[in-house]
């Protein structure tokens, strides 16, 4: 460091001497030899040398080098998710494969964990220095067998609700006093899990839907849309263990009341929670901040009218101030969440609440902004000039990196992009997407299911608002490394192609569709065929269309086991024939024409007219006659016209002429 300092000093001094020389030369136009050389040889003494401030030594964390290296690398749009192996056979190509592969990897891990916990003696040898606790086998059974307080504490830590309650009862019967702290911990355990044992994740045969938040991480691959209903499946039972043990307490303190009230609110016993709170006040105890948060969450459930709900919340907040309990971020979020259920009162009170909390130095988190946006932008309701709220929120939030502080933080991005989609605001959508790239915000996007929703909405908005080049740029960036689009979104993409007249990209999109597993969706494929058949393109594009159309035909033909079979319609068959005719592939078109009969569909007159024009170019008279016969076979009303055309435009032999006149009489008679 000293050498670098001296180097800096030298550099600085040289620079200043250079500057001085320049000044001298400017001031003295007739350069005197002596002055010049003196200025050259010695560093100027009188030049202003600035103070060199040596900075304090920085201490870097252990991962600083890795983080610096990581910041130089962007996401690779050609690679799949980091979870998967980098091999074409092992890369998921559709969203169902993505889910399947990640779930199978998780179940492999669970199988290994089962073996490790069933035979822990083989995994005891500790090679790691320093010790890595997460790689040691877990003890699933409680070790301390005797009836004592230490055994109770152990069972509480292992989250065994029923065993802990049984042990507590045994201790009470034996007459051993259990300290208030331990009883409070037991109450916490019971109220958190709602008096049932949390499902163990290592046992393979157990289902995963009932697990609580604590053990959620390995199983969050499934859709979590039903999370709220899962939690509320267990309702607060009458006279359950928590209430019973609470009643046995001689002097319940704030902590005990807090555990009980929070448990009641979590499991839906709202009015009971409020009555317990009145008990607490009657015992001249103070409630703590989490109790108040729970009560505020419960407030909209116990009252009906918006005003009453708001008054109850204000009342609670006033009591909080009286008891000198400081609110925290979760209080702010609880109030805002309750305001979502308060209709118009919510809209008027939301901003004052936020400013008051700011005054108490509680900064809103992404969850608060999420609730704010939900208050003002109800899904499905018409908007009357409220678009600036989203803009204000984005102004507040842009450029900041957030850490997860509230479980509802993960809803922010989905709500924001839903609002952008509803108000068709592409600018704000870009800002929301930019926010995702700042710092650690990518963690707040939620699990795979929520990410899928976010990307689906973002991409649909892009398809609606932007031109084809921008859309394709985003398409190549997001698909399929981050997002596997559904068939609806792909239909939006086709519409953009149509609007911007880039139908020549259709064969590429068809390849992507096949890869994504949408190749057998009937509506999508029929739309593709219609778009291709609509206008005549130039020759090379038409060729690619013909190839694509034949490929599509293959999708209809053989149904692999398990794949959905598509059925031909008259429209799709005619589109296919038109595309092939436009590319001068008469033979293929002829085969398709025969398919009309096999699949019991009737061709239209325009199609047969077009076909006849094509045949005329090649001059194949026999084929023209067969065409007329086909038309007669379908009893089409346009058959006489066709016959006339053939008679006029083609050179017919006697035999053919007689055949035609026979047909004419036939159709005339049937008319």
């Amino acid at each position: 460091m000293a050498s670098s300092c001296s180097q800096a000093l030298r550099h600085h001094v040289c620079k200043s001497s250079r500057i001085l020389r320049v000044h001298l030369q400017k001031a003295w136009p007739n350069r005197s030899f002596v002055l010049n050389s003196a200025a050259d040889q010695q560093p100027a003494v009188s030049s202003p040398v600035e103070e060199i401030v040596i900075p304090k030594k920085k201490t870097w964390s252990k991962e600083a080098v890795l983080q610096a290296l990581a910041s130089t690398v962007n996401r690779d749009p050609t690679a799949s998710d980091y979870r998967f192996q980098d091999d074409p056979y092992l890369t998921p190509k559709t969203s169902s494969e993505f889910k399947l592969f990640s779930l199978s990897q998780e179940s492999g891990r669970n199988a290994a964990k089962y073996f490790i916990s069933t035979y822990p003696k083989y995994f005891q040898k500790d090679y790691a220095q320093p010790h890595i606790p997460c790689l040691m086998p877990e003890t699933l059974e409680a070790q301390i067998e005797e009836v004592s307080e230490a055994a109770l504490i152990e069972r509480i830590q292992m989250r065994k609700v029923k065993a802990a309650v049984d042990l507590y009862d045994q201790l009470q019967q034996a007459g051993t006093p259990v300290s208030l702290d331990v009883t409070n911990q037991l109450l916490d355990l019971i109220c958190f899990y709602g008096d049932c044992d949390p499902a163990q994740e290592n046992v393979p045969e157990q289902r995963n839907e009932e697990t609580e938040d604590v053990q959620d991480e390995p199983q969050t691959k499934k859709g979590r849309a039903s999370k709220a209903s899962d939690k509320l499946k267990a309702a607060w039972k009458e006279n359950n263990n928590a209430e019973r043990i609470f009643a046995l307490l001689s002097e319940p303190n704030t902590h005990s009341y807090s555990a009980l009230i929070r448990g009641m609110v979590k499991y839906g016993a709202y009015s009971k929670a409020f009555s317990t709170y009145t008990d607490l006040l009657n015992n001249q105890l103070k409630a703590d901040v989490s109790t108040f948060n729970a009560l505020i969450t419960a407030a909209p459930e116990v009252k009906e009218k918006y005003n009453e709900k708001w008054e109850l919340i204000v009342d609670l907040l006033k009591q909080m101030a009286e008891q000198k309990v400081k609110p925290n971020l979760l209080t702010l979020n609880a109030v805002l969440k309750a305001l979502r259920r308060c209709g118009t009162v919510g809209k008027s009170q939301a901003f004052p609440v936020i400013s008051e909390m700011r005054a108490l130095s509680i900064d809103p988190s992404l969850a608060s902004y999420n609730h704010l946006l939900s208050i003002f932008y109800k899904p499905g309701a018409p908007f009357q000039g409220q678009t600036d709220i989203l803009q204000e929120v984005m102004n507040e939030v842009s450029g900041k990196s957030f850490t997860p502080q509230d479980p509802d933080d993960a809803q922010f991005f989905i709500t924001a992009v839903r609002i952008c989609l509803d108000t068709k605001d592409i600018e704000q959508a870009y800002r929301v997407h930019e926010l995702l790239g700042v710092g650690e915000n990518w963690r707040l996007l939620g699990n795979d299911f929520q990410q899928n929703i976010y990307h689906a909405r973002f991409f649909s908005l892009l398809c609606m608002m932007e031109n084809i080049d921008v859309v394709l740029k985003w398409y190549r960036d997001l698909v399929p490394s981050v997002y596997y689009p559904s068939s609806n979104v792909m239909r939006d993409l086709l519409q953009v192609l149509d609007t911007d007249n880039r139908l020549d990209l259709i064969p590429q999109i068809w390849k992507d569709l096949k890869q994504l597993g949408h190749g057998n969706r009937q509506t999508l494929v029929e739309e593709l065929l219609t778009l291709m058949a609509r206008e005549k393109q130039n020759q090379e594009v038409q060729e690619t269309f013909a190839e694509c159309a034949l490929d599509i035909k293959k999708m209809y033909d053989t149904g692999d086991r398990g794949k959905v079979m598509m059925s031909w319609t008259a429209g799709s068959l005619s589109d296919l024939v038109s595309v092939l005719l436009a590319a001068q592939r008469r033979q293929d078109a002829w085969e398709i024409l025969k398919l009309f009969k096999t699949h019991n569909r009737v061709p239209s007159e325009e199609l047969l007219d077009k076909f006849l024009t094509c045949i005329k170019e090649s001059g194949d008279v026999n084929q023209a006659l067969e065409l007329v016969q086909i038309s007669a076979g379908f009893c089409l009303p346009g058959t006489p016209k066709l016959i006339q055309r053939v008679q006029q435009e083609f050179l017919l032999s006697e035999q053919q002429k007689s055949m035609l006149s026979d047909l004419e009489i036939q159709t005339f008679n049937s008319d």
Partner: protein, 167 residues
Amino acid sequence: MATSLVRKTKLLSMVSSQLNSAACFRNIHCTAACLKNRAARIRVAKGDKPVTYEQAYHPHHIGHRKGWLSQHTSNLQGEDGAAERVVEDVFIRRFMYGTFHGCLADEVVIKRRGNLLLICAVMIQKLLPSKFYFLIGYTEELLSHFYKCPVKIEMQTVEEKVVYKYL
């Protein structure tokens, strides 16, 4: 001092003469004979045996035409633990051979970076990808807990075993 030396040599000659009697001459061979010039070599046969690149070149080609199958730093000057690494490698190779039974196309390459154990394997596309991922998750988790260090698998798949020549 001279006398004690003479006594010692006399004792020694007495002992050796006793040993030279027929009863003390059997040598017991406890292990199988592993000849250096037959290790890791597939001999030339009729011409119908398919052989991969790894198998076709003999051990003296390591460093010239072949690479190393196991990469760690315990063979450098002043580093220890070489024997433990060998035992770990043998276990890992048997584990991979058994877990991905019939799927291995070539020898497993084991690399150690810091405390990360990287197992690189080339597999034949014999199983469905979901089954591969199940086995990968299982192997990574089990070996991590066994060796108390992070274990990662890097897998590449080929359609069939890549044959270099027929011997």
